[in-house]
Symmetry: C2
DNA sequence: CTGAAAGCGCTTACAG
DNA sequence: CTGAAAGCGCTTACAG
């Protein structure tokens, strides 16, 4: 049987209240008594029952993590385990735990969040890669990874995705490309909305007018695209010579399609991509891709949460995590290398 | 303020006990009363406080998940997120949650497990890819993924790894290879111990004597190997023509080394590998690799756990998850294709 | 500096 | 079929 506070109290010849105080280093307990109690506690291998503790304090040492789409599904993309690593590391240092929302299929972010909070198990919620506008009015602090629609009133951590979109397009522009497409826009995800924004700015700055039919949508998390539309675009004489792609998986799909059409990367089409995954790293050609540092996104989000829980942060705060570009073989300057056709 | 059982009781004009019973579908409550109470409960958006419930029932709807090595670290390998998906799916269907052990660095499996259990938050523990013999005497049911040292007395789910090791070696043998090496043996992980066992059997069955210096160890989770030893082996005139590698990452490392020595895969060296990762899939040459079905490993483990928690399983039970081979380009029949040198 | 008492929100014998 | 009471293991005003 596990030792309770009463066992310790009896053994020490004091009341449970005193044990409780001693264990919390309450200064009103004499240090001799406290020491003795603490010794006894370890001797009896006493660990306070967190359930009981939480019941009175209305706090737990658990923060809930909610994934977009079907809970499990998103874990299939390497972005998510990486942020989980960051979340876990930050949590462990402060002795917090992670509770995964495993809402059954087809559950929305809002539903999964409510479930977690209603269970009473979590003191806070971290929401990953938020859809643009999840409506959530929950009774615990929330930090989102990604820019939420109502950013002004929320805690969140994100990359500067307009800067990233700008950097991506600019990278291509600087290498002589003028016909630059964007693949993977999804209005439900502000990551892509922001990157599109940056992409537009770069093009306009270069005196180009972004073509609306060259902004190809896809379902962001699921990485599905309308291949018909894509084929159509690349069948045209004045097809794009370069593309900014929202994710490596999308890029790999595109390369497959292009290969089937006899177009090769990077000779005929350059691709700059996002997320720096293993797939992109080992693909031939290897993808030039942005590392958005998901680990650090997770780390920052959890630290922010823990500070909030400690009461050290009150104003809605937005944290920015820097991204970096990993240059590999999927981009070529226009006109360099082999002739284009 | 969240509604409590008292609020519901007052509203319904009954006692809290009656509310509790009604919500649990206790047959001793008249169905009219029960219905009325349940309606009121949803109207007040009542959700029982799990903390309170757990305090009395000594059960929670949470199972703790502990990772090998540094908690976060292992998530860097795609095997782990995949099992997490399986765990999550199975848990969600039965309204259970996952609590991740985020033991700070250098924490052992045993320590992480104790922490989780001592916290009182978890009703069960699932331990991933167990080291050979983690000593754990905890007060909640444990199921391990992988074969534990004391398998006889434990619940666990695993592939048949001796069959897998046998199949791997046999695949090479069947293609004419006689000098077959094994890369990635780690005595601390029974996965590799078992596969080595199968490998040995296949060789012996083919009338070959396994060479001990061709069983190259590495730290399994960390994927680090003694490259000196490897170089030495492949510098020799009678070097291996094929290798059974415990993990795609190891295989990729090996291919790099081989490439540096002017040896190419699969022409001069064939490799059959494990884990069927993206890296191996997109690498050139693409790896022929076993899919050990981590998703299903997770699914089975969680279902087993939930059955145990329900009292439906009492005897230690071992579940087997089938593996399959994904044939790609890293193996060539001996003597086929280009001349060997 | 320490203790007795009340209470966190439930569940569950025990009565009736 | 329903209620009053005790209790799960803690914490925390309130006394002293």
């Amino acid at each position: 049987m596990k030792a309770t506070i009463k066992d310790v109290a009896r053994e020490a010849g004091v009341s449970p209240s005193t044990v409780s105080r001693a264990l919390h280093n309450n200064p009103r307990i004499s240090s001799e008594v406290r020491q003795r109690i603490q010794e006894i506690a370890v001797r009896l291998d006493f660990h306070p029952n967190q359930m009981a503790r939480s019941l009175v304090s209305r706090k737990t040492r658990i923060v809930g993590i909610v994934f977009p789409g079907d809970a499990g599904q998103s874990l299939g993309h390497p972005f998510f385990p990486a942020v989980l690593q960051g979340l876990g590391h930050a949590a462990s240092e402060r002795r917090y735990h992670l509770l995964l929302a495993t809402g059954s299929e087809a559950v929305t972010i809002a539903e999964a969040s409510r479930q977690l909070v209603d269970s009473g198990y979590v003191s806070g919620l971290i929401i990953l890669a938020a859809e643009a506008s999840p409506q959530l009015d929950v009774s615990v602090p929330v930090v989102v990874i990604g820019r939420p629609a109502d950013a002004r009133q929320r805690h969140y951590v994100d990359n500067n995705n307009v800067a990233a979109g700008y950097a991506a397009a600019r990278y291509l522009l600087d290498r002589g490309h003028r016909r630059v497409m964007l693949l993977g826009y999804d209005p439900h995800y502000n990551v892509t909305v922001d990157r599109l924004d940056g992409y537009r700015r770069a093009l306009e700055e270069a005196g180009l007018t972004p073509r609306e039919d060259w902004i190809v949508p896809s379902r962001f998390i699921h990485n599905t695209t309308d291949n018909e539309a894509l084929s159509h675009i690349f069948l045209s004489e004045d097809r794009p010579t370069a593309v900014v792609s929202m994710d490596d998986a999308l890029s790999i799909g595109l390369m497959g399609l292009l290969g089937g059409m006899g177009l090769s990367v990077p000779q005929q089409v350059s691709i700059i991509s996002f997320n720096n995954t293993d797939a992109g790293r080992y693909h031939v050609p290897a993808l030039t891709s942005f590392d958005v540092d998901p680990y650090r996104l997770g780390l920052s989000a959890m630290n922010l949460m823990l500070d909030i829980l400690k009461g050290q942060v009150t104003e809605p705060s937005a944290l920015e995590v820097p991204f970096s570009l990993v240059e590999r073989g999927s981009v070529e300057a226009l006109g360099s290398g082999l002739p284009q056709w």
